[in-house]
C-alpha cells in the first residue's frame, strides 16, 4: 500500500511538473549548417522560453536535400514542424494551395509588417494572405580568390561584359589555375549560369512572358541564347576536374582551400567556404572579393538586375500562436540587426543592415536595394517539377550532353506539362 501511494504521488508529481513546465511545444525545423548561427538561434529560443515558461522550442535539423524530399509528406502528417525553412516561390505556392500552411495575415499587423522590406514580405504572401515571415535575402555573384586572380594578372573590377569574363577565364586557365569550382552533383550551382544569362539577355520581361505562356515561353530566343553563351564558357572546361561528382559543400570547401580562382554562388558562400575548408578557416576577408554577373552586349536586362533568394520561415497549419510569437522575437529588428552584424546573412528587416560590418554583405545589401528586378532562384520559383528540370538541363549544358535548343525545349515542355 505504501508503495502504491508513493507511486501515485510520484506519477502525479511527474505529470504535474510536465504540465507546469511545457504546455506547448513549438517544433522548428531548419537546415542551417553554420554552427554559429545555430548557437545564436538556440540562444534566442532559450530566451523565448525564459519569457514564456510554458513554451518549449524544439529545434531539429535536416540536410538541405533531405529536407526538400521529406517536407511534402511531413507537412501532411501529424508530426509536421510548426515552423520550417522556405525559399518562397513555387514550392510555397503549392503548400499554400494545399492548405497545409497557417494564414498569419492577422498576426502580421501593420506595425510588424512595417519592420520588413515590402518585397521580402511579398515573397511569403500568396493570394493576399501572409503565410510566413522573411528572414534573409541573398544574391548570386562571382566570388574570387584575390591571390589567384593576382597570379593570373586579372583585375576583377575590369570584368564588365561576358566576353571580358570569358577572356579572364582563359587567362586564369593559361596561368595553370583552375578558373572556377562548381558543385555539379547538386546541379543548382550550375543553374545559376543559365538563369543569370537569361536575366541579362531578356530581363524581367522574358521571364514574365515565359511563365504567362506568351510566345515560345522557355523555348524562346532568350533561353536558347542563354544556353549558347553558357556553353561558350563550359567549352573552355573552366571547372575543377570531376566537378560533376562534387557537391556544393565540396566545391565550397575547395574554394575555401584556395584550389580555384572563382565560385559563382550566393553570398552564403562567404560562411560556407569556411565551414567546409579543410583547415576550418577558409579564405579571410582580405583574401577574397566578388563581382556581379557581367553584362551581355545587346541584352535587354538592366545591369542592376539581381538573381538571388528571399528566405524565411513558414508556419504550418494548426501551429500554436506561440510559433508566430517566436518568429516575432527571432525576426525582430533587434535580432535581425544582431544577426546581420555578426555576418550571418543579409537581413530583410528595415534598417537591420545599418550595423552590418561585413563589407561584402553591405555591398550586396545595397545591390539588392538598388535592383528593380530581383529574380528568385528558378528552381524555387518554378516549383520542384519544373525548377529541377532547369537544374538538369543546366548540368547537361555544362557537361555538353544537350544542345541549347534542346535544353530550352525541355524546360518549356516541363512547364507546359505542369501548367
Amino acid at each position: 500500500m505504501r508503495y502504491l501511494i508513493s507511486g501515485t504521488a510520484a506519477l502525479a508529481l511527474i505529470l504535474g511538473v510536465q504540465g507546469a513546465l511545457a504546455e506547448t511545444t513549438v517544433k522548428w525545423l531548419h537546415i542551417e549548417q553554420n554552427p554559429e548561427v545555430v548557437a545564436y538561434w538556440e540562444e534566442v529560443a532559450r530566451d523565448f522560453e525564459a519569457k514564456n515558461p510554458d513554451v518549449k522550442i524544439e529545434m531539429s535539423y535536416l540536410e538541405n536535400q533531405a529536407f526538400k524530399a521529406k517536407l511534402t509528406t511531413m507537412l501532411q502528417s501529424e508530426d509536421r514542424p510548426h515552423l520550417f525553412y522556405s525559399w518562397g516561390g513555387g514550392v510555397f505556392h503549392a503548400q499554400a494551395e494545399a492548405g497545409v500552411l497557417l494564414d498569419i495575415t492577422d498576426s502580421m499587423d501593420d506595425e510588424w509588417a512595417a519592420t520588413f522590406n515590402p518585397t521580402s514580405l511579398e515573397a511569403f504572401t500568396y493570394d493576399d494572405a501572409v503565410y510566413g515571415v522573411p528572414m534573409l535575402t541573398s544574391q548570386v555573384t562571382f566570388w574570387y580568390n584575390k591571390e589567384l586572380m593576382d597570379q593570373a594578372g586579372i583585375d576583377p573590377d575590369a570584368i564588365e561584359t561576358w566576353d571580358d569574363f570569358l577572356a579572364a577565364v582563359q587567362k586564369i586557365k593559361d596561368a595553370g589555375i583552375v578558373p572556377l569550382v562548381a558543385g555539379g552533383a547538386d546541379k543548382w550551382p550550375l543553374h545559376f549560369y543559365w538563369t543569370h544569362l537569361a536575366i541579362r539577355l531578356g530581363g524581367k520581361e522574358a521571364f514574365e512572358k515565359a511563365i504567362s505562356g506568351e510566345g515560345d515561353g522557355f523555348a524562346s530566343e532568350t533561353f536558347i541564347k542563354a544556353g549558347e553563351l553558357m556553353q561558350q564558357l563550359t567549352a573552355m572546361e573552366p571547372f575543377q576536374e570531376g566537378y560533376l561528382a562534387h557537391t556544393n559543400e565540396q566545391a565550397s570547401g575547395m574554394f575555401g582551400d584556395g584550389k580555384a580562382a572563382m565560385y559563382f554562388n550566393g553570398n552564403w558562400l562567404y560562411n560556407i567556404q569556411r565551414v567546409w575548408a579543410s583547415d576550418g578557416k577558409g579564405l579571410a576577408d582580405d583574401e577574397m572579393g566578388f563581382f556581379t554577373f557581367p553584362i551581355v552586349e545587346g541584352g535587354k536586362g538592366e545591369p542592376s538586375d539581381t538573381l538571388g533568394g528571399i528566405n524565411g520561415w513558414l508556419v504550418s497549419k494548426d501551429a500554436p500562436d506561440e510559433a508566430v510569437e517566436f518568429l516575432r522575437l527571432l525576426l525582430s529588428p533587434e535580432h535581425e540587426t544582431e544577426m546581420a552584424k555578426r555576418g550571418f546573412f543579409i537581413p530583410v528587416a528595415n534598417g537591420a543592415d545599418a550595423e552590418m560590418t561585413n563589407p561584402f554583405y553591405k555591398q550586396i545589401a545595397s545591390n539588392i536595394a538598388n535592383s528593380s528586378y530581383h529574380q528568385l532562384f528558378y528552381d524555387q520559383m518554378l516549383g520542384p517539377a519544373v525548377g529541377l528540370v532547369v537544374n538538369d538541363v543546366s548540368a547537361d549544358l555544362a557537361a555538353g550532353n544537350t544542345t541549347p535548343e534542346e535544353a530550352a525545349q525541355t524546360v518549356q515542355e516541363a512547364w507546359e506539362f505542369e501548367n
Binding site: K68, A69, T72, T73, L75, Q76, V91, A94, Q95, E97, A98, G99, V100, G184, A185, K187, E241, G242, Y243, L244, A245, H246, G383, P384, A385, L388, D392, A395, D396, A399, N401, F417, E418
Partner: protein, 307 residues
C-alpha cells in the same frame, strides 16, 4: 484469459504421430493469419492499388488527386530519355550480377565450403560487405572513387596516371557502380551457395571418387546438378535485387552525372518524389511492379517449377 497455443514440441509431436487436431489448427490459423493478412493488405495491397490509381493523375502530393490526366504520365515516361537510361542500367546490372557476381560467388563457395583452415575467416570477410548498410557502403565508395583524395587517386598517382574522376564521367560512372554492386552482394550469394553445398550428401562424392571421377567431373556431374535449385534461387534473388537497387546509388552518385547511373527506383525517387510529381512516380512504380511480377511469375513457373 489463457491462450492455449500449442508449443513447438507439441506441434512436432502431433506431426510425428500423424494425427491432426483440426480445432487446434484452426486456432493457429485464426491467431496467426490475421496479423499477416492485415499487414499485407495495409502495406502491400493498399499502397499498390493507390499507386495505380495515382498514376492516372497529375498530383503534387498535397490533398487528394483531382487532376485526371489518363495515360499522360505513362506517355511521358516512355519518351523520357532518363527512363530509357534507367531501364538500360537495370538490365546491365542484372547482366553483371548473373555473369560476374554469381560465378564469382560460386567459385568462392566451392573453395570455402570445405573445412579447410581459414575458410571460416574468409567466409566472414567476404560476407562483410553484405552486412554493411547500403547507404554506408555507397558513402564509403564515394570516398574511394574520389579523384583527388580517394583510394583511387592514390592508386592512379602511384601508377603515374593522371587522376581519374570515375563518378563524374558519364560513360564510366555506371561501371563504378557495377563494381560496388558486385562487391556488395557476392558474399550473400556465396553464403547461399555454401549452405547449398553443405546440404549435399557426402555419399555422392564418395561414390563418385570410388568410380574414379576427377575433380572437374565431380564438379560437373555431382556438385552443379545437386546445387542447381540453390543457383536458381540465387538468380531469382539477384535479378529482383538488381531491379530494386536504390539506397546504394543515392549516396554514391544519386543517378548522376546527367542521369547516367539512374536505376528504375532512383528514377522514381528523383523524378517522382523529389519533384513532387506523385502521379508520375506512381506510373513509374507501376511499370517497375509489372516488370518484377512478370519476371517473378515466369521464372517461378519455368525455371523453378520443380524446386
Amino acid at each position: 484469459m489463457q491462450l492455449s497455443l500449442p508449443t513447438p514440441a507439441a506441434l512436432r509431436r502431433t506431426a510425428g504421430q500423424g494425427i491432426r487436431f483440426a480445432p487446434d489448427k484452426l486456432k493457429v490459423v485464426l491467431l496467426f493469419l490475421p496479423p499477416a493478412l492485415l499487414m499485407f493488405t495495409l502495406f502491400v495491397i493498399l499502397p499498390m492499388g493507390e499507386a495505380i490509381y495515382y498514376s492516372f493523375f497529375r498530383w503534387n502530393g498535397f490533398g487528394r488527386p483531382e487532376d485526371f490526366v489518363g495515360l499522360k504520365n505513362y506517355a511521358y515516361l516512355i519518351q523520357h530519355r532518363a527512363f530509357g537510361i534507367a531501364l538500360g542500367n537495370n538490365l546491365l546490372i542484372i547482366l553483371i550480377s548473373l555473369a560476374v557476381q554469381l560465378p564469382l560467388a560460386l567459385a568462392l563457395a566451392i573453395l570455402l565450403a570445405e573445412r579447410i583452415r581459414g575458410a571460416y575467416t574468409f567466409r566472414m570477410i567476404f560476407f562483410l560487405p553484405y552486412v554493411l548498410a547500403e547507404v554506408a557502403a555507397g558513402l564509403i565508395w564515394r570516398f574511394v572513387y574520389d579523384g583527388d583524395y580517394g583510394l583511387l587517386a592514390t592508386l592512379t598517382n602511384w601508377l603515374g596516371y593522371p587522376p581519374v574522376h570515375l563518378l563524374a564521367d558519364r560513360e564510366l560512372a555506371i561501371y563504378g557502380v557495377l563494381a560496388v554492386v558486385v562487391w556488395k552482394y557476392f558474399g550473400f550469394h556465396m553464403m547461399i551457395f555454401i549452405a547449398g553445398l553443405q546440404s549435399i550428401d557426402a555419399d555422392y562424392y564418395e561414390a563418385a571418387r570410388i568410380d574414379g571421377a576427377s575433380r572437374t567431373q565431380i564438379l560437373r556431374h555431382v556438385t552443379l546438378p545437386m546445387l542447381a535449385p540453390t543457383i536458381r534461387l540465387s538468380i531469382f534473388f539477384a535479378v529482383l535485387g538488381s531491379l530494386q537497387l536504390f539506397d546504394m546509388i543515392v549516396p554514391l552518385t544519386n543517378g548522376g552525372p546527367s542521369d547516367s547511373t539512374q536505376t528504375l527506383v532512383t528514377y522514381l525517387y528523383n523524378f517522382g518524389v523529389v519533384r513532387m510529381r506523385i502521379g508520375f512516380g506512381g506510373a513509374i512504380g507501376v511499370v517497375l511492379f509489372v516488370i518484377c511480377v512478370v519476371f517473378a511469375f515466369t521464372y517461378k513457373r519455368t525455371a523453378m517449377r520443380h524446386d
